[in-house]
Symmetry: D2
Subunit: 295 residues, 4 copies
């Protein structure tokens, strides 16, 4: 399949390589072009612009940082021509970035207007999972468009959940997932602060509670980082976590759903950002709770 791949960051590059290895004809583009060398070395092509990568493609996959980056690449901005006009009729754009529900809806409409398909296909997983082709993908969009990109998505993830026809629903799921993690961090951070001031070591508390009660590998890995207070290097930056809570709250606001816990974790991440911790791991949020307790 002829695939344009846009965005070769920590997540995008291994994803693009997996598509090359799966036998697809990949034409990759990245804003800073040096990242594209690895794609060429693996047998893929490198495009000079996003529009070039989309030219003649059956599918374009985007893995970009945020709404602004996706919007620029699709619709263009002062610096770039977007790929919206270059993408052939009938081709599909599968957007794997974590973007807002509002932008996802706008993309669905814009592609429909150009007789193109659009699938929201956000992914769960860290770069290691991307390398191993073990991401979890959540895909939503018109059935024909989903069918079109199924094989490619399966090359990226061990599980592809298909969610239905309304593309933004997949973005809601992704944001809900990151919110669940943030909520877990908040709960652990408060429990750890209570434990510490009551003579119970955080690591011991985690061992007992996750061992017998919760039994989640997610609690284990996040909880261990928080118990050890090792926030660098970042697995997922606090500034990105903050961005995702903003997107979750924006989706909630638009849907008229009060999410007080989301506001709470947003505020703790925002306070972390205000203190200059934007580049630390987002588990650093737990320091806000410790400091509130005078620890």
């Amino acid at each position: 399949m002829r695939i344009g791949f846009l965005g070769l960051g920590g997540m995008g590059l291994p994803m693009a390589l997996n598509l090359v290895r799966a036998g697809h004809e990949v034409s990759a583009w990245n804003r800073t072009s040096s990242r594209a060398d690895a794609v060429r070395a693996a047998g893929g092509q490198v495009a000079g612009t996003a529009a070039d990568a989309a030219e003649g493609a059956e599918l374009v996959l985007t893995m970009l940082a945020d709404d602004a980056a996706v919007s620029a690449v699709v619709f263009g901005d002062e610096a770039t021509e977007g790929f919206l006009r270059a993408l052939p009729r009938g081709a599909v754009h599968a957007c794997t970035s974590t973007i807002s529900v509002a932008l996802s809806r706008r993309l669905a409409q814009a592609h429909a207007k150009h007789d193109q398909g659009y699938v929201a296909a956000p992914v769960f997983g860290r770069p290691q999972a991307a390398e191993a082709g073990q991401l979890t993908v959540v895909a939503a969009g018109a059935p024909a468009a989903r069918a079109r990109c199924r094989e490619a998505l399966e090359a990226l993830g061990q599980t592809v959940h298909e969610l239905g026809d309304d593309a933004p629903a997949a973005n809601v799921v992704k944001l809900a997932g990151n919110f669940l993690i943030a909520g877990m961090m908040e709960a652990l951070a408060e429990a750890f602060a209570l434990g510490r001031k009551s003579g119970v070591d955080a690591a011991k508390l985690l061992e007992i509670l996750n061992g017998g009660l919760v039994r989640s590998p997610l609690y284990q890995s996040y909880g261990t980082m928080m118990a050890q207070e090792r926030f660098e290097p970042a697995g997922f930056k606090l500034s990105l976590g903050l961005k995702d809570m903003r997107l979750a709250l924006a989706a909630a606001d638009a849907a008229a759903v009060p999410m007080p816990l989301a506001s709470l974790v947003h505020d703790h991440l925002l306070s972390g950002a205000a203190r200059g911790w934007g580049d630390r791991d987002w588990t650093a949020m737990s320091r806000i709770l410790s400091e509130a307790a005078g620890l």
Copy 2:
């Protein structure tokens, strides 16, 4: 070992029976005496008062509803003589109830004054786990006292975590555990409300998020109840969950630890109680979030 067992409710009765089966000489007491028949049938003895059950015992285990019940049974009230004076010097009281940190500290002091041992030994698990001897026990107290009751506690639970010399620390762990569950419920409830108003079914959202991300049997069971909105019969009553959040907040207040998420779930449980849902399962708390979203 000669064991007095006080409190034969849904948790206490199977625990007492397991001690009988493990070969201990159990003398059991319950405020409403009919519950004691099963103990007699299994080969145990039935005591007329809490003090009688403690008379000559090496160990007294208590499994009672709340602070008031434990306090009455230990110190006595208008209706009952407490067992504090009847318990022999050198014997140990292991308190398995979910009680306040403050009462636990008071018990430690009172038993020490009477040359008795005290172990805080709260348990995690539902009645089925109690029947199967598969509770998780967290035990704290003086080493000698802990040693004294180790065998009995091992007859109750598959895992016994020993936590150190300060008895109330075990109560903190128990309260932190129930708080973690409540925090998880809050996060799921908000995510479900957002999902529902965005066209994503709660069961589907749970399947995706717990399947690939959290992978916790706790999320699975609680999340399923919340997705199905089946709140009766109660696995754990909302009124009891509210009680535990009160105890967690009281411990946090005494330790000068702000726990905003604990306040949040407390408020949602309190609102449930105000609406007359005290006897429903505490997952009914999720209805508060749904209603806030106009669902």
Copy 3:
């Protein structure tokens, strides 16, 4: 002075009339033109478009509903040509609407690019205060631009606070003011719910607390509406209050200032909107608190 006045709603019409009465040459425009008749009757002119009203004006005042309306009138949209190009060099745009800090900053930049002045001049007060020329105006922007519109603003309000050179600062003050009111409503609503469930009538509670302690006419008028639970007709619509809390939270987010009380009142207003109360007075927010208490 030649003044273009854009937006003749409940606030804008009396403001425009006051400018006519103060002797200014007013050319007024409104999206639905029937509202302009009163201006003509008073001796003002009526413009066919926003751009016409700005043509040849020394000052343009805008009093429009929200960001979208202001943006459309300044920059244009599918339906309207904006007045940005029509406004003469050296003329000033004084924006009296409650808009976002971000849009205010964008307006400052756009007008500067066109060698025009921009003053953010949001107003406090209801339509009655507008009629009486007793609004409170907060004005910020370059000194020359502020000097240019001083006389006109003084015709609108009994007090004009000049705040400095950075126009968006005035918008922050306006949003902070509406947030203070919302915070007061939250506090009163919680106190009233506690009072009611403790046998203390809300009106009596207000009488005691505002009479002896707070002594604020604002508490008196809002508190009375909340005590009587008369939410219709709306003095200030819940949907507009919600909009302003969104703007306050957006400003706070951009400035990295956690505002947990703002999130709290946002959530209560949002829940009101979710229940279909958008057109009631925003004091209806207190019903959310009453219902939470089972009242």
Copy 4:
């Protein structure tokens, strides 16, 4: 009238002196007796114990620090005999301290059992207001008991609000009042933090918002302290404010009224206490908000 006055702290002493000056026969007692000299100098008597002061009195007024102090003085503890038995039948206890709703109810029952009257009569105002006889008093209790102490209460305060027969209702009003102040501080603190990070000076913001909108002397005085960040010497200690928020939350919990803003301010005061600010003025709570914003 023969009046026993118990508690001669910063508030109690000027209150006792006002009663002497109003012509009452006052027998005063204080735990540290040196405080009583001023009463003797003014023409009052000094009692050796609380019980002595109550002996033969028609009315006993208590102005003590907290629940523990009131409870000790009424019911006795290891150090003191309480005055409950010494107070003549038909005499009245008017409790002016800020105590819990629960203790107030217990006092009402205990005095009724001894055929004595009980009036909850908490006061609003600082020591200067006590000196000037300008406190605001809120009195509740049986009509006959209220009638009995009316004259004495009028000697203390410029306004005496009578609230009805249920004594604890007056305590609810007092707690609601202190909660309103705390809520106002939270709102101002958030608004100030937003202002500061947006280039608007706190004092200026206060001037505009309180000047034109709120117009409350309470906002003025508290807001000025917060704007200047002068937290010492304390007008009202943070630790006492924290105590009152605990009492408000306890009353709310017992009445099944979620009060999320009360939880919020409680947490900020608690965090202040955790940082060692218990003896600063409770407006120091605003530092928690400033720090959260990285100020």
